[in-house]
């Protein structure tokens, strides 16, 4: 075999070999059976942070009550207005009638007197309408203010939720459960923070009944050392000054 021929043959073989390997790889790469046969078990622990803030709850309830009251008041006011208007028209009618009567009865009565009477009635009417308008305006501004407050509360809640989920992640990351942990156990911890997010105190509020489990939960919170909390002190005071954390393993086989 001459040298040139051997090189050509070797090249063909080498390229063929590589093409073969690449095709094999491409064919076997998407091994769907393998992917499907493996049950996907997401590693899932939930240390639920329960937002239990009596302050906010009270505020919310109060707000709801206020809104209801306002509504009731508004309806009552409208009803009163309606009545007043009805009365007014009745009075006007009566007045007109009496006026006509007067005119009819006392045709010779002075025109000036009649006009004065009319003027007085109109004045009274205008006064009443003005009064009504001012009242309405007041109630409108009040309701706008209320709405604004409500909006702010909603965005605050959303932001708080983001912080809560971050805190949850931090705690879960540091939580290593003892072997004696079982599904269904749960421990409730109360955490006290300072505005920088550092922990002042953690206490077990509701024990799970398993000391090791409680200890692991305490350790998970203490290990975090510092939580990310909103910089705004209003938000911090409202939601994060103290909060409770519920530890509950859910992915265990036992």
């Amino acid at each position: 075999m001459s040298t040139g021929l051997s090189y050509v043959l070797a090249s063909i073989l080498a390229f063929g070999f590589h093409a073969f390997v690449v095709t094999l790889l491409l064919l076997n790469w998407d091994n769907k059976d393998l992917v499907e046969s493996l049950p996907i078990q997401p590693y899932y622990i939930e240390a639920i942070v329960v937002e239990e803030n009596p302050h906010t709850a009270k505020k919310k309830r109060e707000q709801a009550r206020k809104a209801a009251e306002k509504n009731r008041k508004r309806i009552a006011r409208e009803r009163v207005n309606e009545k007043a208007r009805l009365k007014q028209t009745a009075i006007e009618k009566a007045k007109k009638q009496s006026l006509e009567q007067q005119i009819a009865e006392q045709k010779k009565r002075d025109d000036e007197l009649a006009s004065m009477e009319l003027n007085k009635a109109v004045d009274r009417e205008v006064d009443l309408a003005e009064d009504e308008r001012v009242k309405m305006e007041q109630s409108l501004t009040l309701s706008i203010l209320e709405e604004q407050n409500f909006r702010r509360a909603v965005t605050d809640d959303e932001q708080a939720l983001a912080y809560v989920s971050q805190i949850q992640r931090d705690i879960v990351q540091n939580w290593s459960r003892p072997p004696s942990a079982r599904n269904g156990m749960q421990a409730l911890l109360r955490v006290y923070l300072v505005p920088t997010g550092e922990i002042v105190n953690v206490v077990v509020e509701e024990t799970s009944g398993n000391e090791a489990f409680d200890r692991s939960a305490l350790l998970a919170v203490r290990k975090t050392q510092r939580f990310q909390v909103p910089a705004k002190s209003r938000q911090f005071e409202r939601n994060f000054r103290e909060f409770t954390v519920l530890f509950r393993p859910e992915d265990l086989r036992l």
């Binding site: 051997s6 043959l9 080498a14 992917v35």
Partner: protein
């Protein structure tokens, strides 16, 4: 991440440096396989011809006749044939000079054959250094690609707010392809290098043995005619 990333995506999406590394490695792999096949053919043919020639040589044929046959052939003599023809040529040429003593003739023949043997050895060993180079360096080249790729993917993590495994994994997977290709190129090269160097050694030993036997025959011929 339900659908697995295809290998094409891994190669195409890789960063430029990693792609260059992959290209170098694939080239090295193809080249080394060309060498592997070519060496395989060459060594096999040299071995076969050596056996054939030795059979002819020991068949008791006239050496001059064998030499003339070789000279008459179109192809260049390779392997043992080359050693024989260069030794025999030197032998006849030295003998034609009147007055050169037997030892001198033998020295010349020896030298000529040694030169032929070393030339043949050189021919046997062509491309073997290339295989050795591919075998020893391509894992490092692949590793470089991997380290570079992982470096990049870690830098990406730094920019992501909440890094998760699914952010990091594709980059690392991409990077690891480089190491895989490097190993794929290196392993056959190393195996072939070891195998072929052993074969070359065997063939060279055979040449040496033939040289000794042939020179002893010539020695006898020189001294018997004195």
């Amino acid at each position: 991440m339900n659908d697995p990333i295809s290998i094409v995506d891994l190669v195409v999406d890789a960063s430029a440096v990693v792609q260059v590394v992959m290209a170098i490695l694939i080239f090295a792999s193809i080249a080394s396989w060309i060498m592997i096949f070519q060496r395989g053919f060459t060594l096999a043919s040299i071995k076969r011809e050596a056996i054939e020639f030795e059979n002819e040589f020991w068949s008791g044929k006239d050496l001059r006749q064998i030499y003339l046959d070789l000279e008459a052939r179109e192809e260049e003599p390779i392997g043992v044939e080359n050693i024989f023809s260069s030794g025999f040529k030197e032998f006849t040429r030295s003998r034609q000079h009147k007055g050169t003593d037997a030892d001198r003739v033998m020295q010349n023949v020896h030298r000529a054959m040694r030169v032929a043997v070393s030339r043949e050895e050189e021919r046997l060993e062509t491309h073997l250094p290339f295989l050795a180079t591919v075998g020893s360096t391509s894992p490092y080249i692949g590793l470089f690609g991997t380290v570079w790729g992982i470096m990049n993917s870690f830098r990406e993590i730094a920019t992501v707010n909440q890094p998760s495994l699914s952010v990091v994994a594709p980059g690392i997977s991409e990077a690891l392809v480089a190491t895989a290709i490097g190993l794929f190129a290196a392993i056959p090269a190393v195996i072939a290098y070891n195998r072929y160097s052993a074969q070359v050694e065997v063939i060279v030993n055979r040449f040496d043995a033939f040289t000794d036997e042939f020179s002893s025959i010539l020695y006898r011929a020189v001294h018997s005619k004195e």
